[in-house]
Symmetry: C2
Subunit: 436 residues, 2 copies
């Protein structure tokens, strides 16, 4: 690839209509690749300056953004978007404040780029270590929430990556208004505009091309519903960091402190229903069931949670409906909970191995040995002892920010912060050493 | 997936003929998945015991292995394999010694599984850290060298992964004899036989199925020629850790110590010709060219290295043939070297950005600032200051063993040892904390 100057991609991004999607996306790819080479060399200062300049532009453009969003909402209502989607799409002063605050937080995070780990002397006389560096170009594909545009842009920029962002067509005008602020912030800090590009066409072919340009894009991060993510994973010719479903379990062992068991089981289900780290199945050790299930049922009833139980659960709670095979396989994302009585940790871990989506699973126990076994043996991206599954979150884990939660095993697993957007290269320091 | 007992896969591995490849590979996948669940729980002791038992079995089966290899070699000669392939295929006492020694070395390496990093208290009262755990099931596809069977098996086992190994058809009998030793070693240590399975059919459809079973295989590592690796990367439905070509550069800056420059430039090319970390293009800073190129040419002439140079090189070394565009893009793997005279580090890094395969690139300089720039800005899996590119190797880096060198950016980059065969899950330790 020769370093021929080509700015058509970025220029075309402003055009109202794009006819040749392939050529347009190739242009974005070339611009992003060059911007990535420049960002790799950019120290922390200018990256933070750009983030703070974006925050200022956002503050100054509040009205333009809200009126662009009003146009999106009006179009959404015309085309019959449901209320949940309209709520995700809607911006107000508070949400704009949140975006501004988010930019300032990302600016204040430590820069992961350049960190060198494990530098050690080798018998040959060389020193070998690993340096954290940006991935390069990141493609992000997401749905209605326009604030994702800014979150994704800020995290990619801070980690030294160029970004190509493809939002949902329903947020078209909001995203364009936000993109203007991003571009102005980059320019104000002397960074290349191509560092963050927002795909200006809503043609679905643009997604197909974005996920099939390994020469320009190093990784794709889809954010949205399961069907979007499955389709992208299936069709991508570029590595994908993906987040599929969260069928999370809490297992209450007979050795649990009953008060902690009750508090965690209630919190993991009722703190929020629509989140991926919400418990969907509760496993109760048989010796605990008779005393604890009635208390749990009372607590869930207060929150209006519908219970579905196995036969042993129903022997204690006859009012509960029958859980069928499908219940163990379902991410309800709703005030519904499946309950199964099991015989000890082995049965609990066998259920988890079989039905968990390997997102987050927790045990409540006072037994040192059982806690150690659960930690070692449960193969999920987050494994918890005596804590609510709702803690599985980049902010709660101290990552400072989160681009998503990976349910993959390679590269990044669990909540993905700035570090997940970097890679490590080997560095070798010598004084003229040669191989004998 | 229910935990139904199914041993057909392992049993079929012994069969002489396998008709239904899909069913056969599915059987291997199911067996591997169950073995992986068991290996995840296996402490270091039994894994090391199995490795040492394999070493004993290998020692005891030396004659069977060599006679199986003799059958492969005879068949190879009949079918007209070339000498290089026959050499890679051939085993002798020394190579068997090497395999035995390799097993003992892997047994002596620290076990990466279970290591917990960065455990920190959070304001909520939970502690959060990351625990290193096996990937699960690893599929390895390789060509003629039968010792890869044992190397791959030992590294996967030590890192707690189940392995499905698919060697080249030309090494069929050798691989089967080695597989017997592996199986006996696993059994002697009480580990499941399914921990390492060698695909018993040479039908190419088996590879097609192996790389398309994400439900059973977590990652594919192809080892072999570029065309094999490209085909597998293109067709895989499972993540691939791949090693493509090594077009490595050494840049001699005007600030270099001339003796170090000469020694490194000669070593990086002539230490071995067929390896991926061998220098293929030498970049020489203009002020250094007139004095250094004649000495370099004399040294390369002694080693019989053919030189191809740019016009500025040929102005100093008129005997050198012309390097054309294709030379900058070629991994010679032979005693041939392309030389280009450049104007300073920016021109050198621009050439590297354009032509490097991002495997390993080195600078020779005494300048602190230029060394720092090269380290930060060159985007290759190994970046070196004043050292020969030939050091880019798992053993030289102190990994103790190497399953390959990754030219990917995600997950593992550069030499891949035991750590590259693991992943990290989050662990959360609490005392009843719930999310507020």
């Amino acid at each position: 690839m020769t370093a021929q100057v080509q700015r058509d991609g970025a220029a075309a991004a402003g055009a109202a209509e794009i006819r040749d999607i392939d050529a347009y996306m190739t242009g974005l790819g070339e611009v992003a690749r060059r911007a990535a080479a420049s960002l790799r060399r950019t120290p922390t200062g200018p990256k933070n300056a750009a983030l703070l300049a974006m925050a200022e532009r956002l503050e100054a453009s509040r009205e333009e953004i809200l009126s662009a969003n009003a146009r999106d909402l009006a179009r959404g209502r015309e085309t019959g978007l449901d209320d949940a989607l309209l709520d995700r799409l809607a911006l107000d002063d508070q949400r704009v404040d949140g975006m501004i605050e988010g930019l300032r937080q990302v600016a204040s995070l430590p820069d992961p780029v350049g960190e060198i780990d494990g530098l050690r002397a080798r018998p040959s006389g060389i020193q070998v270590g690993q340096m954290r560096v940006p991935l390069g170009v990141i493609g992000i594909i997401y749905e209605s929430r326009p604030n994702v545009t800014l979150e994704a842009a800020s995290l990619c920029l801070k980690s030294g990556n160029a970004a190509i962002l493809r939002g949902g067509s329903e947020a078209r005008d909001s995203n364009a208004a936000i993109a203007t602020c991003i571009r102005e912030g980059l320019t104000a800090a002397g960074l290349p505009e191509g560092a963050v590009q927002v795909v200006a066409t809503t043609d679905r072919a643009a997604v197909g091309r974005l996920i099939a340009m390994p020469e320009f894009v190093d990784v794709i991060i889809p954010r949205g519903g399961k069907s979007l993510i499955e389709r992208i994973s299936r069709e991508a010719r570029v590595p994908v960091i993906k987040h599929l479903d969260g069928i999370c379990h809490v297992y209450l062992d007979a050795t649990a402190d009953p008060d902690k068991a009750l508090a965690i089981a209630v919190n993991a289900k009722t703190h929020r229903y629509g989140t991926c780290n919400t418990m969907e199945t509760l496993l109760v050790d048989a010796p605990l069931a008779a005393s604890l299930l009635p208390k749990l049922a009372a607590a869930y009833a207060e929150h209006g949670v519908e219970l579905r139980g196995c036969e042993r659960t129903r022997a204690i709670l006859p009012q509960v409906s029958v859980a069928v095979e499908e219940d163990w396989q379902t991410e309800y994302l709703a005030p519904v909970l499946a309950i199964r009585v099991v015989d000890g940790i082995d049965a609990a871990m066998a259920h988890i191995e079989c039905y968990s989506s390997h997102h987050t699973d927790a045990i409540v126990t006072e037994s040192w040995s059982l806690a150690r076994r659960f930690l070692a043996e449960v193969d999920s991206s987050s494994v918890m002892i005596n804590a609510s599954t709702r803690f599985a979150d980049g902010f709660e884990y101290g990552l400072g920010a989160e681009i998503g939660i990976s349910t993959d095993k390679l590269h990044a697993r669990g909540p993905v912060g700035l570090e997940g957007l970097t890679t490590r290269k080997y560095v070798v320091l010598g004084d003229g050493q040669v191989r004998q």
